[in-house]
Symmetry: C2
Subunit: 480 residues, 2 copies
């Protein structure tokens, strides 16, 4: 077996076994590993570094909007969950419960937060007294625990990392506007930081968060045509305010319940990046979050020591220009190294061989499309910095074209299966009844994702399922 093929052969074929391809890419690029407890995962340095970049990009956007970070306890009295009927119904089956400390049984059972509306609501009722205390906009970066039966790295694990923003306002309009505003922020992060096109919109009643009045989501298409819910924002009305007695004395001297929103993105986004951009050779990472943006590979150092020296110099130059750079001086064949870094999705490979050196150039290869170009060494730092933005755009455009070409308008139920099996989202009309939603799920394992941004003339159409007058235009898809 040629060195060149070794790494590629280590991962399953993306076209014939996407599931195994995903697992192989996760493990073999050393993004993560399985934890000792079933359903848990370990974020290895390469995977965690992506999360750190996502955190930094999100955090600065939140702070610019006046959101402040804080931290609330992970352990929540079990009774708190009970206070909002839908909330407990949604989360109770998957909450992990702490009953003992050492050998002593606790007097009250505690749950590990599956989300923090309840514990934060409890504190907000203490802190909020007057309209002057509003709006209150807090966020926390934290781990949460949701015990899922079927787990997959990044996509669904017993414990995951996320941020949860919890905001409080004097009026329902402001709270709902916050949920919509944060959806926009999430979309910007998906587009600009992760090169990920997303469909955004409101979710159906069935698909909304347990305890919310309305849930808004962003959905990203994976390369198998399935949807991945990549972030959600929720408008709660005064539901949690009533459950936790969050009241304020308004300007008019009347005590009123406050209105709330919450919003979250998680380490799931790493799964989205893997599945939306990856290819037969492995990962393909968007430059803004790539832990290594450029790898410098000297070729034939054994025959020509000057190559090694110049490669080191180039690596330093690229670092000085602000890039995250790796210099691969290992005593391994170029083919092996190329595959190694392609599997890991490094956006740009910078090759320097004897002939390159003589000609005063480097050969630069873009991971996204394999395009190679020669760049003069004295210009390479500047050019490669510029390439980062170009590559992000190429990646976005590629994923966007893929998404656009895999959305099929479906008017009859019979056409849905073919569309879904062909790896498409169904752009359909729906009467709004739960019955039809359930039927589509039962027949084709597809769910309502988000309402279409364009609802114009929807009343002229018929429900894809029952044929009655449509109320919504909505995307149906199979989902992770």
């Amino acid at each position: 077996m040629a060195d060149k093929d070794r790494f590629v052969n280590q991962i399953a074929d993306i076209d014939t076994d996407y599931t195994q391809w995903y697992t192989d890419v996760c493990l073999k690029s050393e993004l993560c590993d399985y934890g000792p407890v079933k359903g848990t995962m370990v974020f290895r340095p390469y995977g965690y570094a992506i999360w750190e970049r996502i955190q930094a990009e999100a955090d600065k956007r939140f702070k610019a909007l006046g959101v402040k970070n804080s931290y609330f306890p992970m352990l929540i009295p079990q009774s708190f969950l009970m206070r909002e009927a839908e909330h407990v119904e949604g989360f109770a089956p998957e909450v992990a419960t702490v009953t003992h400390v050492g050998d002593t049984e606790l007097s009250e059972k505690l749950v590990l937060r599956p989300t923090s509306e309840t514990v934060i609501g409890n504190m907000y009722s203490k802190w909020i007294g007057s309209y002057r205390d509003l709006p209150l906009k807090l966020n926390q970066w934290a781990n949460v625990v949701r015990w899922e039966k079927t787990t997959r790295p990044f996509l669904r694990t017993s414990e995951f990392l996320w941020q949860e923003g919890h905001t409080v306002f004097a009026t329902p309009e402001e709270a709902n506007a916050d949920a919509l505003k944060m959806l926009e922020v999430y979309k910007e992060i998906a587009n600009d930081v992760l090169a990920l096109p997303v469909l955004t919109g409101r979710k159906s009643e069935k698909e909304k968060f347990a305890g919310a009045e309305a849930t808004y989501g962003m959905e990203a298409m994976m390369k198998d045509g399935k949807s991945l819910q990549a972030g959600t924002t929720h408008y709660f009305g005064d539901r949690f305010a009533k459950a936790f007695d969050i009241k304020f004395l308004d300007k008019d001297g009347v005590h009123k319940y406050a209105y709330q929103a919450s919003w979250g993105i998680s380490t799931r986004l790493i799964g989205a990046v893997i599945m939306a951009h990856g290819d037969a050779r492995g990962l393909c990472l968007p430059p803004p979050v790539a832990p290594i943006q450029a790898v410098v590979v000297p070729i034939g150092v054994g025959k020509n020591a000057a190559v090694g020296e110049k490669a080191r110099e180039i690596a330093e130059k690229l670092k000085a220009a602000g890039l995250r750079v790796e210099l691969d001086e290992r005593d391994l064949s170029p083919g092996f190294k190329f595959n190694h870094w392609e599997l890991r999705g490094v956006p740009v490979r910078v090759e320097l061989g004897g002939r390159d050196l003589e000609a005063g150039v480097v050969t630069v290869c873009r991971r996204v499309d394999g395009e190679k170009l020669q760049i003069r060494i004295d210009e390479c730092a500047e050019r490669i910095v510029a390439m980062m933005g170009e590559i992000t755009k190429s990646m976005y455009d590629k994923a966007d074209a893929f998404t656009a070409s895999h959305i099929v308008k479906v008017e009859k139920l019979d056409d849905m299966e073919k569309a879904l099996d062909g790896g498409n989202f169904c752009d359909a009309h729906w009467c709004g009844e739960r019955e039809c939603e359930d039927k589509i799920k039962q027949l084709y394992a597809a769910t309502a994702r988000v309402f279409n941004a364009d609802q114009k003339g929807v009343e002229k159409h018929k429900c894809v399922c029952c044929g009655k007058k449509a109320k919504h235009r909505i995307y149906f898809a199979r989902a992770y």
Copy 2:
């Protein structure tokens, strides 16, 4: 009651009720609050922002040493803890145990990490195969749970936030050197970032970490003369390697156990900052971690609108110079505002009144010593930026002088009580026997903190307790 005294009166007197003073400062400066579950705490934005600054300062130092961040599961099989005999003995009584998910009992009990040596050791045994995999230096920022009977905000809570570094080496010398090196890094953070003088050194056998061969600690003196363990590093030898089968194939073709170290600092450091620098008026925050470094207070805006305008301009100028700035335009008296920001420990207050404006100056007041000076408006940004370093130094010097003047050489057991009651550390000699250590604890509630950096001529001295020949020079103190 005059406005000026309102805030000061809200906190207990530091000289007569230090314990209540601490609680008052924590809660009334809005650093934190109590969580709904006994022993838990909430990090409010002002407190969490200090932690974010500590994290950033520590993280950059770790990364500069080649340490990479990662994340390991919080849930650990109970059986893992059992594998290292001393480790389980030390932690078992305080671990919280998860027994159920929803209504279903788990087949294996899981504990919430009190620290992660075991779960990380388990992964390291999988990842490490060859000498080429060493050294391995990972860190994680995480929450841990240790169920303590007596809790106090920041100092001792059921859940706290920390970082834990876990490093693996081929030789015992390298692992021990890493524990010592990280102690130096912690000292630098304490000194330069928190303006906190610390005593560093090895801990006694009794005080070492459960499962370590050696523990090194840094101890900071609080204003009541008690010691606060502000960070520890541990050398494990091959203990966890043997418990978790962490072996590598060495260059000589022999499979060998690896050697490990671990090191951690936590949100306890915030408690240290409060208690080492705080005074009768409240918090006093070191500029490197102060969420607000300068507060601008316009005075008499009602009479002179130009003052308000100029104050806004100054605040913008200070922000542009890189400072974290708050402009207090609230319709409250200057005295009220002064106390408000003094309680919160803002390093510098910038006052601008009508006369100041006429003279083209601002009045700047340093929180650390109340020193006031007038600075020309056109020079104020530059001067205040420079003041940040000066203030950090002043704070360090002040705390250092306090510490130095509260270390008493004690040669007889009878003198120990007086020294401790006077709020001092005891610089003493010790035979090294556990019996004497236990006796001192029983008699005076003081414990061995760290060995003195100077062990010269120790053999010429006698144990402060039993009078036998001394083996160590060591600090005894009451501790948090």
